[in-house]
Point group: C2
Chain length 409, copies 2
Amino acid sequence: MSTSASRLDRWLLHSLRKMLGSAPLDLVLYDREEVADMRRSVATIRFADRQTLIDVLRSPEMGFGDAFSEGRIVIDGDLVAALVAIYETRRNTPPGLLARWLLWTQQNTLTGSRKHVHHHYDLGNDFYNLWLDSEMQYTCAYFPNPDANLDTAQLAKLDHVCRKIWLRPGETVVEAGCGWGGLALHMARNYGVNVKAYNISQEQIAFARERAKREGLSNQVEFIEDDYRNIRGQFDAFISVGMLEHVGIERYRELGNVVRRAIGDTGRGLLHFIGRNFDRPLSTWIKRRVFPGGHPPALRSVMDIFEPQDYSVLDVENIRLHYARTLEHWLERFENSYDQVRDTYGANFARMWRLYLAGSAAAFRVGTLQLFQVVFAGSQCKTIPWNRAYLYEDAEPRQSDEPWIRAIS
Amino acid sequence: MSTSASRLDRWLLHSLRKMLGSAPLDLVLYDREEVADMRRSVATIRFADRQTLIDVLRSPEMGFGDAFSEGRIVIDGDLVAALVAIYETRRNTPPGLLARWLLWTQQNTLTGSRKHVHHHYDLGNDFYNLWLDSEMQYTCAYFPNPDANLDTAQLAKLDHVCRKIWLRPGETVVEAGCGWGGLALHMARNYGVNVKAYNISQEQIAFARERAKREGLSNQVEFIEDDYRNIRGQFDAFISVGMLEHVGIERYRELGNVVRRAIGDTGRGLLHFIGRNFDRPLSTWIKRRVFPGGHPPALRSVMDIFEPQDYSVLDVENIRLHYARTLEHWLERFENSYDQVRDTYGANFARMWRLYLAGSAAAFRVGTLQLFQVVFAGSQCKTIPWNRAYLYEDAEPRQSDEPWIRAIS
């Protein structure tokens, strides 16, 4: 195709420019014509052909995502910065009726959940091992300072959540959605608790069991390949890091009942999850291509878990900037293994994953996604920390009669 | 009345005992018969006559509250412990239909609000001065440790909320519901900010203005006798301590609009308020006799303020045990001035206030009331703290380029 840009092409590019408002981006119809040459542009978006322009205009999320994956859209410059600019412009666009309808009809039946998780997490441990930290934590890290490295920050996250629910030696903990088992093993190893950890990803459970065996922790940690809804037993604490966003808000009351069965009125717990300022569906592209069944909830929706149980919310921390930083680390590591990913999984997959990581980093930076850690306690939980200062003091060995625990009655 | 206890009296006492379940309380029909002599009783409740028993059975909250105020119910033993026992037993009783109806029909029109606040806060500065701390803080204190004294804890609260919204010298702050001006003056004096503070209580505003003048802070702090809905101007931060529970949940969207007009998308703010695990009306007695128009909201309802503005919740802290402690201090001080209160305001008022303070202490201890501090930020707020550690480090003089502030972009 060597014809010069037609009037139609110009009009299409102009429409796209309008959609992007004042975003500092150059738009180029490949090898033909530059429509805008803004002075402070952070990146140039190159469209391969007219059809790609039409695809993006007709369906901004799917059209853009798929065209990027297929190499029909190329972004020159800082990918994260370009996506930040796009999200900033688009953040105030309310979800359409169709999007709302999709949100409410999304079904997570027991079989459905299994399928959803397999899609994402059973890509193979080897794939995630390429770019995750040494603990295989596929959730937001907690950086003591913004320049800490990823391994340090993932370890700090594990301690941050353990300290938040003031684990004491000999206690029992149930974990819903345990990934590759990093947190469960950390709790057993460093806090002397007994853990029952659930996950429906066969490959992750196998990996976790192998680690427990190797570390001699099989007596303390039981990994169970099953759905969180099938949790059985009584525990002192409930913990879930990075599962809630897969549960679906219409299942939160049921989840509350599961938690209640597990820890009763005397226990306490923590939920760590990707959330929103208000409920709206995930990007259609993320939902269809990367995370089927995912929904990052607003805090309002999460109250469906606690209110019917008369549970008290003790602490909510929003660490979304930490997730932006985590994703930047993942993206950097991913880029370092890019050729290997492309050769193993194909060029489209590699580009898709690049967009997914960069887009998520941008969303957490802009604030269209949040990361909440919520600590809660049952109405009869008799010891709760007097304040949160102990979280920020140098760690001492945990004692059952620590002064920061204050009996209620 | 010198007749011995009738069969009817026994039956009434028995019914009351059933209502109280296993609460460790002795019930005595005055000078007649002891119905229960439980071994580990924390207090004895004495009823003056049969009518009082009937009143309590027919309307537990109003009947009990009014009879206590009128001296027809006397509690021997630890009043707070007795009320804790009663609340523990009653906490799982769901609100009736009438109570729900009352909740939703409670109207806070502009005139209505003014009337409500006058009822409670215009009792006279002298009255509150008898038992509040030296800063006249009529809200939950923050105790560095449970044994700190009240003055220390109220000062610590002021700093805790100021630090939570990372005030920097030269910034502007609007305060909704400023009481006697303690926080507004503290912010101006210690954080170098300019404050506009609103309150509809004439006597409190007069007191606050006088203090500002005496301290030479009138240039920095403007006290305005007006409703929060009439806030005008642009500010860096919004703060409200102890007002939300008077606003009424049906007005939260409107309050969100007020906040948005004041701080836009770039500001941040803090709400400190009495809340609940889930929405239910205040005790009818508290509502009718002490706090007309009051409603402590569930976190779910509070989201009505933030969600329509695309505001992010950054931090929620529940410090209900600190309010129990605060109320115990107030009660102790109140008891020390009891004779003076009784001589000035009458015996019924003095007993009513005693029950209100003790009952509130019990409610915060049991957990039927919560105390939430919520920090939030607009979608374009460009600096937010990297984590919360700075809140717990020794205070350094505030600088505008502090390392704990992390620019978003």
